[in-house]
Assembly symmetry: C2
Homo-oligomer: 805 residues x 2
């Protein structure tokens, strides 16, 4: 009998069974379910046919490529089996986040056993034929992934990239007071940074308005090829760590199935009693102390019940069980014999009838209907999504009498809209704002009028806006903000993540995985659309003049635009009213990742609300009032812009051109929706060539001022006819602690440089342009001298307002 | 007197003074240094002139823009002051990583006080004139950043992006047995994922061969605008947490400077005694149990000694002290008065002589020479760098009799080279390999013949290759791997990070910061070049056919190529020998971030070692043996390729073209160094247009098969004359669990599709190409049918070898 990994020399030990002690019959039923799940899991990894082993196993029954992860699977099957029991016994509304997502076979096996799989995929029926399909499709071309994935019923969590299970679990539990979210955390994932940060998510979980999270730290001792840190900690050190995280740990450990069944059942009962008490104390008695939520540490052997040894080397209970324990089954008769023995050790004839249907004992504890883990509607969040009722933008828009004369802080204007949404969702509680301690810094603090910042720790008299039931999530971890919102939106609620632009790269990889999830789930008709994940990137590259180079990075847009076009959208609203329109749009959208980049510093208003609406609906358009076209002939030059600071510089450049070269026909084009620049064949928002040429012309010089890395514009437009005439200015990784205008000068994005670009590119300007060009160069020189002397920007820049129509 | 943040109602308490109790005179000297540092810090934030307050403060003495972070600064000054004492008293070789890097004024002030600043920047002399420059330059255009940065003497850590201090500290301590690395961790940083994961780095620190890390958790109670999680934990919970991390915590808490000086001195003495004992027990007595390393928890008020109240609101001891406590100094006489009172409260006349030089009492504990924290050579690692002595590649190269016939696993070949480097550095210990539990999976396991995997936990008989003194770092945290190697290379040693390609995005933001660090430090003549940070990205997008969509992402190359061209290099060696040449190159390089993408699966050898060397030296070149040019006329078409799988498909396409359209003059161009594609004006490795045209022609169709997102090639080449003729195939975010060849077919990168691309683009092929094109389309159809049936690739694909010259 294999032993638990960390204590091979000690007898099995477990939480005191206490209440919840099982009868032998109950253990037998649980064990039957577990064996069935293990059988079905191993079958998925190995069997191409002969699923019920009705004939002796032959090489042709074996898959040509053996793929999958056995090691974690029996433990996941055990947990699923026991969750079934408590869900049924307590009529729990529960879901489970399976952190060791490589254990896909386990979750698939359980879903098939409980029938939820066949409901979603009727061809994989709950009989021998369906079992055969279940086995064959696993990790097979045209089949299903080896990880828990969008294709897996009951899942909101892809297990391919480790680190996010616990954050997802907390995100799902927020504002779902009746929900229990179990979360299995494996040895490997527990070493990641995002998971390590997520332990403290319990400081943000309100026992009254939120549901409960029950972490199950499943230590089988190993990751891919190494022992794991937590599994090898001395027991008392692990215990201190988990208590330090604010949990009350319950330990279940062993390699004897009967004892582990009893111990795990007892631990689950204790944990659920503990949770019920904590919630009752908070909800009925109003006690607001943060509970020490329970946590289960489950130590069972890696690859438990699989081959103990293969080719003379220990496999069960070691890292060698991680993937496919017997790898040579098709060619090695001994391996084939071992596999058959292994599969038959589960006694499939006691688990399935002759038609391959699970026998009643196997299904004794399987919950019914929507209580099944594979059928809980929270895991198909679109089923539960209720649209936000968004207030009229008229209440928040800023009046614009003349463009480019009044200043507003766009994010502060947005903050008032968000405050109203917070107020309007006070009852339904289906909207959250998250940010790494930057909500106020990003000037969205109006939301505190409607709700507080979630906080379950003690408070001091000087604290402001902290609240047990607050729906603003502030923690200095972008990973946690992202993970919470992923879990929250995938379970059907709405959210916005406000983040410093440079540091959103911290979650690049999480965003990748979320986009992949959405791309895949969009193609599954049974998955209903969920609210989009929305980013407000502010404190952006051009206004990090005080924080300097480390805070300057506009590349998240590039990162996101590499991803599936059906999912990603990028918006660069140039002013406050366009920001409102874009925010309104993204909060109504579904199944997307929307990135909004907008400044928090005072910046010019360009468009009134009606104009802003029309402009945002088009995504890109000519600002006729800003140009000097007469309509009689094509423009001599196009000034393109995307982003608030580039728009300001382009408008200032247009101003200079109108004054200094009044006969030049200048067109100003502003782009809000970056994907409009793409060909329509490549993105649903893309423009046709005719549309593009109508904006930018096919043959005129275009001087484009872009918020981010300039080559992104080339990457989006290289197929356009006029691309050879396109010259882009943007951020070129030059920055330091300096003034706002010096930032644009340093990166050649300033108004003077843009005018010089125009003069250098428009043919036939002749001598009349020479002094203008010199004046621009002089202004740049003047800037440099002034800033060295005064440390501030030129008055002619800081005092500038739009002087045109 | 303000109190420590977390326990405002309790008296100051501290670790038992015990040995190290200070005399009143000693306290007075420490306090003088601390006050001087505080004065110099506040001066940097506020003063444009009048640095010694020789005349009453007037608005014109105040900077026009008030920028900086005061909140953390007095605590950092306190720690620096006390580190000076113990360094001097014990003649310690010590450095400090300042996690709250926003507290730049503190580190600058201390460097100026100890004289290291003026040695590096002689114009900022240690007198009144230099003090004036120190003040003016801070956060001033043309001056120095407000964070600790490369410009700061004694730093290896930019504090702009939080999360990496502790990993950097451990990286610096590895293989530096005589070094003490103090590491200050702030409230905010402690909430991040990377920092949370880094606590467990002590499980990888060998007390014999590595130095010590002394974390100082500096809890001033708040981050930007919120209390912090750790500061508000109940004391016993925090204590359990820190002990659970494997530390022995020592607490120092209070707001009375005299008491805190004594308590901190005592705690530091206890901690250093503890470290010395642990190292002696391990080194002299051979005891290999992991020590419970000490850790100091320092609770002092945020913004300590600054204004207690401003405009009726509490500032000192609250989050309001985070940045600039008095913001209206130039316009508000009351603020100006308060500032003057604040500055004079440090009694500058007791700290500096009339010439602005620090008085002897202030400098009593300042260490001498290289012992000063601002002058320790470990923080300017290039001073200590010793080049690796790399073995001849001939010993590791694979023989290539005919290209495209034999197969090797490139990373396995590289592993043997790395093993030799490990063996050759066994004494000097200046090379480490890091990977998130993937060294063996990535087939580099030959290194275990030369060294083990670092591991200080207990081992079991079944474990393999674990060793207390191992130099392979395996932890399932990309953040930790990255942070360790940053700290290791910045202190002058060499390293390689092997990572799954998709998951290296986890460290996107860390890589950003490291590239920014290197870009800045390259421009500082006093910073000597350090070894590059080298990535081996393997288990790449094309061979994640078993793990599926979540493991498929080639975008790290795009991410890195957005950054400073002088720092970044990207290599895609097409086979084993080119991988050896590239690895040899990057391990010799300095001050770069080198990304190598190479497969681990068996793939064809194309070039012998001599050819590989020549090809890699050029970075891109014509493979004449693979084409059908006669040299008499330009080619009809160019097949470009970059990456191992695309190269294989292009060679197979060339093979098909030679057989089916023998009269077509085909050129094959392989690109190893991606930056060669850039214009020479944009990257030091960039090609001139003439060079580019000589490879790709200016007017012939180019069908390019690229490893990653296809638009990257357009972004690199859009300025080239022949760009209109360039058609690129690559990964387009289409993937699942399937076969290797099905992956390339799904993304239209397969040999058949490439031949069709050629036929579609070469003019004048006429009817002779029609049946060839049809045959290619048929082959793709045949593939799809075969894979559905068999789950494997077409034999004609799996059996293919190069049949040309």
């Amino acid at each position: 009998m294999p032993q638990a990994p960390a204590d091979p020399q000690r007898p099995d030990h477990a939480a005191d069974p206490g209440r919840g002690g099982l009868t032998d019959a109950e253990v037998a039923s649980l064990d039957a379910h577990w064996r069935a799940a293990n059988y079905l899991s191993a079958g998925q990894i190995y069997l191409l046919s002969n699923p019920l082993l009705t004939v002796p196993l032959e090489p042709e029954h074996i898959k040509p490529r053996l793929l999958g992860h056995w090691g974690t699977t029996p433990g996941l099957n055990l947990i699923h089996t026991h969750l079934n029991r408590v869900i049924t016994a307590r009529d729990l509304d529960a879901i489970c986040v399976w952190g060791p997502g490589h254990g896909g076979p386990a979750v698939l096996a359980n879903s098939w056993l409980e029938g939820s799989y066949s409901e979603v995929y009727p061809d994989v029926s709950r009989d021998a034929e369906g079992m055969g399909r279940l086995f064959r499709q696993f990790s097979f071309p045209g089949g299903v992934p080896s990880h828990v994935a969008p294709e897996t019923p009951g899942s909101i969590h892809e297990g391919g990239e480790l680190g996010y299970s616990l954050a997802h679990a907390y995100g799902a539990a927020l504002d779902n007071p009746d929900l229990l979210v179990a979360c299995v955390i494996g040895d490997g994932e527990a070493e990641t940074g995002p998971l390590a940060a997520s332990w403290h998510a319990n400081k943000f979980l309100d026992p009254i308005h939120d549901g409960a999270v029950l972490p199950v730290l499943h230590l089988n001792g190993y990751k891919i090829a190494n022992p794991s840190v937590l599994a090898r900690l001395p027991e008392e050190e692990l215990d201190r760590l988990l208590r330090g995280y604010g949990h009350e740990p319950l330990y279940v450990s062993g390699g004897d199935p009967g004892r582990v069944h009893r111990a795990l059942a007892a631990a689950l009962d204790r944990a659920l009693d503990h949770i019920a008490t904590a919630q009752r104390v908070a909800r009925a008695e109003g006690v607001l102390d943060r509970p020490h939520w329970p946590l289960i540490v489950l130590r069972t052997p890696k690859g438990w019940t699989g081959p103990a040894e293969v080719d003379g080397l220990a496999v069960e209970g070691t890292w060698r069980a991680h993937q496919v324990p017997l790898s040579g089954v098709r060619d090695n008769p001994e391996h084939l014999r071992q596999l058959e023995g292994w599969l038959r050790s589960y006694r499939p004839e006691e688990l399935f009838d002759a038609q391959g249907r699970p026998l009643p004992q196997v299904l004794e504890y399987v919950p019914r209907g929507a209580r099944r883990l594979g059928a809980n509607p929270h895991t198909n969040g679109g089923l539960l999504t209720r649209s936000l009722s968004l207030p009229p933008l008229e209440h928040y828009a800023v009046p614009v009498e003349r463009p480019g004369t009044a200043l507003h802080e766009p994010t502060r204007v947005l903050g008032r809209l968000l405050a109203q949404i917070m107020a309007d969702t006070a009852e339904r509680r289906n909207f959250r704002l998250a940010g790494p301690d930057e909500t106020a810094s990003n000037r969205l603090d109006a939301v505190y009028e409607a709700t507080g910042k979630a906080w379950q720790e003690r408070t001091l008299p000087t604290d402001e806006h902290l609240a047990h039931d607050g729906r603003v999530m502030e923690v200095l971890s972008e990973h946690l903000c992202q993970g919470w919102l992923e879990g929250y939106t995938l379970t059907g609620r709405h959210g916005l993540f406000s983040c410093y632009e440079a540091f959103v790269h911290i979650v690049d990889s999480m965003v990748n995985q979320h986009i992949k999830w959405l791309k895949t789930s969009r193609a599954l008709t049974w998955r209903r659309p969920v609210p989009s994940l929305n980013y407000l990137l502010t404190s952006h590259v051009w206004r990090q003049d005080h924080n300097g180079f480390s805070h300057q990075d506009p590349g998240f847009v590039d990162h996101v635009l590499n991803k599936s076009p059906e999912v990603v959208r990028v918006f660069l609203p140039p002013d406050a009213n366009t920001l409102l329109c874009v925010a309104d749009h993204v909060l109504r959208s579904r199944d997307q990742v929307n990135v909004i980049v907008a400044g928090k510093q005072p910046s010019f208003d360009w468009l009134g609300l009606d104009e802003a609406r029309a402009h945002c609906a088009r995504g890109a358009g000519v600002w006729t009032w800003a140009g000097t076209e007469t309509g009689e002939r094509p423009p001599d030059v196009v000034l393109g812009c995307a982003g608030d600071v580039p728009t300001q510089e382009v408008l200032a450049a247009a101003d200079l051109l109108r004054r200094h070269l009044p006969e030049l026909a200048v067109r100003v084009v502003n782009v809000v929706d970056m994907t409009r620049l793409l060909p329509k064949e490549e993105h649903p928002h893309g423009m046709s060539d005719a549309e593009y040429d109508a904006l930018f012309t096919a043959d005129r010089p275009v001087a484009f001022a872009y918020h981010g890395y300039p080559w992104l514009i080339h990457r989006l437009t290289y197929r356009r006819t006029g691309h050879d005439q396109l010259h882009v200015r943007g951020y070129k990784e030059t920055g330091t602690t300096t003034t706002p205008f010096d930032m644009v000068v340093s990166n050649d994005l300033d108004r003077y440089r843009l005018v010089m670009d125009v003069i250098d590119r428009v043919p036939g300007l002749g001598v009349r342009a020479v002094p203008v060009r010199q004046a621009m160069a002089d202004a740049r020189t003047r800037h440099r001298a002034w800033i060295r002397e005064h440390g501030t920007d030129l008055p002619e820049v800081t005092d500038w307002t739009w002087s045109g129509k």
